[in-house]
C-alpha cells in the first residue's frame, strides 16, 4: 500500500461513515482542486455514484471559468448540484472592493453567512434540473446536518487542529478550545438538534498529495491552475478580488508536481495568494470560528 492508497482508503472510510450516520448530508464543492479530489473520492466510496447534494456557495465574484466548469461536470456526472448565495449583501453592494467594506467582512457576508443560511435552509437553494439543464429553486429546505468539506491540515494553523468529524453549534460556530475526542476510526456522529457536523475527509492530504492523486487518477481539473501562456497560474482558487495568480510556467499537472517537489514552490505556503488570511493576524481562524470552511 503506497502513501496515496492509504490516504484514499482513509478518506473513503470517512465518506462511508458520514453517509451511514447523517440522514441529511451534503458536500461543499468549491470547484477547486481539493474539493474536486473530494468529489472523486465520493465516487470511489460509492462506486461511481454521489448519493448526496453538492453545495456551492456562489459569491458571484468567482472566476467565470469556475462556474462553467462546475455546471459542465454536474451535467456530465449527473450530480445533484445546489447553490446558494447572499442575495441581500450582493444587492446592497456590501462587498470588497466596490463597497466600503474590508476583505474579512466581505468573506463573512458572502461566504460564512451565505453558507450558514444555505445549510440551514433559511435562504433559497437552487438545484440543477437535469432535464431543463438549468437551476431551479430547490423545494428541499431541510437543514443539512452533515456537511462534507475539503479542508486540509497543511493549509493553515487552525485547520491543522481540526477533527475528521467536527461539530458546529447552533450559530455555526466552531469551539476550537473544546473539540470532541476522536479515537482510531471512531468519530463524533451524534449531535444535538440544531447543531451540525463538518466532515473532513482530506485532512491528512498535502497540496502535493492532491496533485499526485489528480495525476494518478486522471481527474478533470479546471485549467485556471495552468499557465496558459502568460507566465501566470492560480495555485489556489477563490474570488477574483482577493485571489492572485502566481508567477509560474507550469502548463500541466506533471509540471505543477515538479514545481512543488523541487521547484520554486517547494517551501512556499499554498494560501500565500489569499489576501483575507493576512488581516488581523489570524484572519482565517477568526473566519473559521464563525462558520467559514
Amino acid at each position: 500500500m503506497n502513501h496515496l492508497d492509504k490516504l484514499e482508503s482513509q478518506s473513503v472510510y470517512i465518506f462511508r461513515e458520514a453517509y451511514a450516520s447523517f440522514k441529511s448530508l451534503a458536500m461543499l464543492w468549491s470547484i477547486g482542486k481539493d474539493s474536486t479530489v473530494l468529489l472523486w473520492l465520493a465516487r470511489k466510496a460509492f462506486l461511481g455514484h454521489v448519493p448526496f447534494p453538492l453545495v456551492h456557495i456562489d459569491t458571484s465574484y468567482k472566476m467565470p471559468e469556475m462556474i462553467q466548469y462546475r455546471d459542465a461536470l454536474a451535467l456530465e456526472w449527473g450530480l445533484n448540484m445546489v447553490y446558494g448565495q447572499n442575495a441581500e449583501a450582493l444587492a446592497q453592494k456590501q462587498t470588497f472592493p466596490d463597497g466600503a467594506i474590508d476583505r474579512v467582512s466581505c468573506c463573512k457576508a458572502l461566504k460564512s453567512e451565505a453558507l450558514r443560511n444555505t445549510l440551514s435552509g433559511k435562504w433559497p437553494r437552487y438545484r440543477m434540473d437535469h432535464n431543463l439543464k438549468k437551476y431551479v429553486p430547490d423545494t428541499n429546505l431541510e437543514p443539512y446536518t452533515g456537511v462534507i468539506v475539503g479542508v486540509r491540515a497543511d493549509e493553515e494553523g487552525s485547520r491543522s487542529k481540526e477533527r475528521y468529524f467536527s461539530p458546529r453549534d447552533k450559530r455555526n460556530d466552531w469551539d476550537v478550545g473544546d473539540q470532541p475526542p476522536e479515537l482510531w476510526n471512531q468519530f463524533k456522529t451524534d449531535f444535538a438538534p440544531g447543531t451540525h457536523i463538518r466532515i473532513h475527509p482530506l485532512l491528512d492530504w498535502t497540496e502535493l498529495d492532491i496533485w499526485e492523486y489528480i495525476d494518478r487518477e486522471g481527474i478533470p481539473i479546471t485549467d485556471l491552475y495552468f499557465d496558459r501562456g502568460e507566465g501566470k497560474r492560480y495555485r489556489s482558487l477563490g474570488c477574483y478580488p482577493c485571489t492572485f495568480p502566481v508567477e509560474s510556467k507550469a502548463r500541466n499537472i506533471k509540471e505543477i508536481i515538479q514545481e512543488l517537489k523541487t521547484g520554486k514552490f517547494k517551501n512556499i505556503a499554498e494560501r500565500a495568494g489569499r489576501a483575507q488570511d493576512k488581516e488581523d493576524g489570524g484572519g482565517l481562524e477568526t473566519l473559521r470560528r464563525g462558520g467559514y470552511m
Binding site: 484514499e8 462511508r16 462506486l47 497543511d154 491543522s160 479515537l183 471512531q186
Partner: protein
C-alpha cells in the same frame, strides 16, 4: 508515518517539533522570520513552539491546546508529526492525537524530571496500542548536559514503563531549543552514543503486518444504487486485517450468515481478485443474504471473533460526567453501535502513579478495568489478538466520553447455545435454491412471529386467525403451538420446570428449519421470560423474529415488538400484528 509527541506540560514538545521543522528546512519560506518579527513586536522572547501553536489562544497562553498535524520529510520518508498538548485539561486532545499515531516520542524535562503526565501519557500510549516509543530527555542545557541526571531519569522511567509492559526503543538526551542532538550528534553530549531525534524517527517501523492476521471487515453499509441504474448489491467496508479473494467463503458475525465472495468492486481501478488489510473496498456476494451495518465479515475456516454481551475491558474516561452504573451508554466498536451498561468495576487506576482503588464510578481522566454489558450480543476480538476489532468508544448522550480496549470475552447466559449455533451454521448444507429467490417467489421474507403472554390469555386464536388470513392471501405460513411439540419431538424431555430451556430450544430449532423453508411461522408459547426470548433470538437470529406479547407485559424494556390488549377483539389484534409485519418489511412489494 504518523508520529505523536507527548509528555508533561512545558517539557518542550512543541519546541522539539518546531526545531525539527526548522533544522530540516521543512518550514514554509518566511515563516520563521515572520514569527520572530511578531515576537520582537510584542517584546517577548522567540520560541520555536510559536511555529506550531497556531491558535490565538495558544499563542496568548503559551500552551498547546489541541493536537496539530505538521507535515515533514526526512531523507527517508514522509511524516505527519502530531503535537499533543501536555496539560491535563486537554487530555482528550492528547488522546485524539496519539490515537492516530504509529509511534511516539515522549518528552521529559531534564530539570523538572518525571511528572504525572509523563506517566499518564506513557500509560495511555500503551493502552492506545502504540508499541514504538522513544523517550527524549529535553532541556539538557539546564542541567549542564549531565550524564548522571540523564541516567537517573532513564532508570526511574524505565522502571515505570516496565510496570505497564512497555519497552522503550531508546532514551535520547536533547536540548531542543539549542538544537543539540536533534538532527545529528552533539558535541555537548559526547558521552551519548545513540541516535539523534531525526535518526530515531527513521528507525521506527511501519505498522505490523496486518494482512497476516485473520480476516476482519466491519460492514459499513450494503449499497444498492438502483435509481442510478446500478443493480450491484455491494457490501462496503475497510479490511482491517487479513486478506480475502474472490471465491472465498465468508461468515458474518454476530448474525452467523454465510456466503461467498463473487466479486471485488471498485471505482476507476483495475479488476481485483484479492483484497487485503488497509483497503476500503466493496464486495458482491454469491448468496444474497440479509446483513447489517455493524456485522463483521470474516473468512470461513479462520479463527472467528468472540460473540457475547459481556466484555472485560480497560476503559479511560474523558467525559465531563463520570461513568456510572444503571445508565445507558452507546458502545461503538468497529461499525456496530449498541446500548451498553457498566456492569462491574474490577479496579480503578490512577494512570499517573498506577495506584489502584475501588470506587463506584469511573471519573474523568481515570482508567478502569471493568465489565460492560451490551443490550444484545456483539462481535469483537480481544485487542491483543486483533486491534481494530478490539477497541471501542463509549458515547454518553451526544459525546464520545470514553475509549478502551477489550481484554477478554466473558461468557454470558447464551454463550453455550451461541457456540452450538455457530457450529450449526458452519456445517449447514445449503440447497441450491437461493433464499432470496425463494422470497421473491413467495412474496415475503421468512419470519417467526412469536406470540407469548400469561397462561389463560388467548394467543392461539390470534395466531390461527392470522395464519388463515395469510394463507388465503397466498403466503406460505404455518401455525406452531409449543404444545404440538410436547408429545412428539419433545417426548424424551421431562415436563417440568428444569426442562423448560430444552423445550424452548427445540421450538427455536424447529422454527429455524421452517424459516429456512421460507415460511411465516406463527408460534405460541405461554409464560416465556426475558432469558427464553434471548435464547430464541440466538437460535433463529435476532432479525428473524417478531415478538408479540398479549396481556400484561413483564418483559425488559425494548424486547417486545408489539403489545396487545387481551380484552380487544381478535380481529383487531390480528390487524395489529399484520401491521407490525408490514412495517417490519416482511412483505415484498411486487
Amino acid at each position: 508515518m504518523n508520529i505523536v509527541i507527548v509528555g508533561h506540560v512545558d517539557h518542550g514538545k512543541s519546541t522539539v517539533i518546531g526545531r525539527l521543522l526548522a533544522d530540516t528546512g521543512s518550514l514554509p519560506q518566511g515563516k520563521l522570520e515572520s514569527v520572530k518579527r511578531d515576537c520582537e513586536r510584542n517584546a517577548k522572547p522567540f520560541e520555536y513552539a510559536f511555529l506550531l501553536d497556531a491558535l490565538k489562544d495558544e499563542q496568548a497562553q503559551g500552551i498547546t491546546i489541541d493536537s496539530a498535524r505538521c507535515f515533514f520529510k526526512s531523507a527517508l520518508r514522509e511524516y505527519i508529526i502530531i503535537d499533543a498538548p501536555g496539560h491535563i485539561e486537554f487530555l482528550k486532545n492528547m488522546i485524539s492525537g496519539a490515537a492516530r499515531a504509529e509511534a511516539a516520542l515522549l518528552v521529559i524535562d531534564a530539570k523538572e524530571g518525571i511528572r504525572e503526565n509523563s506517566k499518564r501519557h506513557g500509560y495511555l500510549l500503551s493502552m492506545l496500542g502504540i508499541r514504538q516509543v522513544a523517550v527524549c530527555v529535553n532541556k539538557m542545557d539546564l542541567v549542564d548536559y549531565s550524564e548522571k541526571v540523564f541516567n537517573g531519569i532513564e532508570a526511574e522511567y524505565r522502571e515505570f514503563l516496565k510496570q505497564i509492559g512497555l519497552k522503550p526503543r531508546a532514551f535520547i538526551p536533547i536540548a531542543a531549543r539549542e538544537g543539540e542532538n536533534m538532527t545529528g550528534p552533539s558535541d555537548k553530549l559526547s558521552w551519548y552514543k545513540g541516535p539523534s531525534i531525526l535518526g530515531m524517527l527513521d528507525t521506527f517501523e511501519k505498522a505490523k503486518k496486518l494482512d497476516e492476521q485473520a480476516f476482519r471487515m466491519p460492514v459499513q453499509a450494503v449499497y444498492k444504487f438502483t435509481e442510478s441504474g446500478d443493480d450491484r448489491r455491494i457490501v462496503a467496508g475497510k479490511v482491517e486485517s487479513g486478506k480475502i479473494s474472490v471465491g472465498d467463503q465468508v461468515v458474518f458475525f454476530p448474525s452467523n450468515k454465510k456466503s461467498e465472495i463473487k466479486s471485488i468492486e471498485q471505482f476507476n481501478a483495475p479488476v481485483a481478485v484479492h483484497a487485503e488489510a488497509g483497503y476500503s473496498t466493496g464486495f458482491t456476494l454469491k448468496e444474497q443474504i440479509y446483513i447489517n451495518r455493524g456485522d463483521i465479515m470474516c473468512k470461513a475456516g479462520e479463527p472467528h471473533p468472540s460473540v457475547s454481551s459481556l466484555l472485560k475491558v480497560e476503559v479511560f474516561w474523558m467525559g465531563k460526567n463520570p461513568m456510572v452504573f444503571d445508565k445507558e451508554y452507546k458502545l461503538k466498536l468497529g461499525t456496530a453501535k449498541i446500548p451498553v451498561y457498566l456492569k462491574e468495576i474490577l479496579k480503578n487506576i490512577d494512570a499517573s502513579d498506577l495506584k489502584q482503588s475501588e470506587k463506584k464510578m469511573i471519573e474523568r481522566h481515570e482508567v478502569a478495568e471493568c465489565v460492560l454489558e451490551t443490550s444484545s450480543p456483539v462481535a469483537f476480538d480481544p485487542a491483543s489478538d486483533i486491534e481494530a476489532t478490539g477497541r471501542f468508544v463509549i458515547v454518553d448522550q451526544y459525546d464520545i466520553a470514553g475509549g478502551g480496549i477489550v481484554v477478554e470475552m466473558l461468557r454470558d447466559d447464551q454463550s453455550e447455545i451461541r457456540e452450538q449455533v455457530i457450529l450449526r451454521e458452519e456445517k449447514w448444507d445449503y440447497s441450491i435454491v437461493d433464499s432470496l429467490e425463494r422470497q421473491k417467489k413467495y412474496g415475503h421474507k421468512p419470519k417467526l412471529i412469536l406470540l407469548t403472554g400469561k397462561v389463560g390469555v388467548d394467543k392461539k386464536s390470534i395466531a390461527k386467525e392470522l395464519e388463515k388470513l395469510l394463507f388465503e392471501s397466498g403466503a406460505k405460513t404455518y401455525f406452531l403451538g409449543i404444545g404440538n411439540l410436547l408429545r412428539g419431538l419433545d417426548a424424551d424431555v421431562e415436563r417440568q420446570k428444569t426442562a423448560r430451556h430444552e423445550h424452548v430450544r427445540r421450538l427455536g430449532e424447529v422454527s429455524h428449519l421452517m424459516m429456512d423453508a421460507g415460511l411465516l411461522v406463527l408460534a405460541t408459547a405461554s409464560n416465556l421470560n426475558d432469558e427464553e426470548l434471548r435464547l430464541l433470538q440466538e437460535i433463529t437470529s435476532r432479525d428473524m423474529i417478531l415478538i408479540v406479547n398479549v396481556g400484561t407485559n413483564d418483559f425488559r424494556q425494548g424486547i417486545v415488538d408489539l403489545n396487545l390488549d387481551s380484552a380487544h377483539a381478535i380481529q383487531d389484534n390480528v390487524r395489529k400484528v399484520l401491521g407490525l409485519m408490514e412495517s417490519s418489511g416482511v412483505f415484498l412489494r411486487s
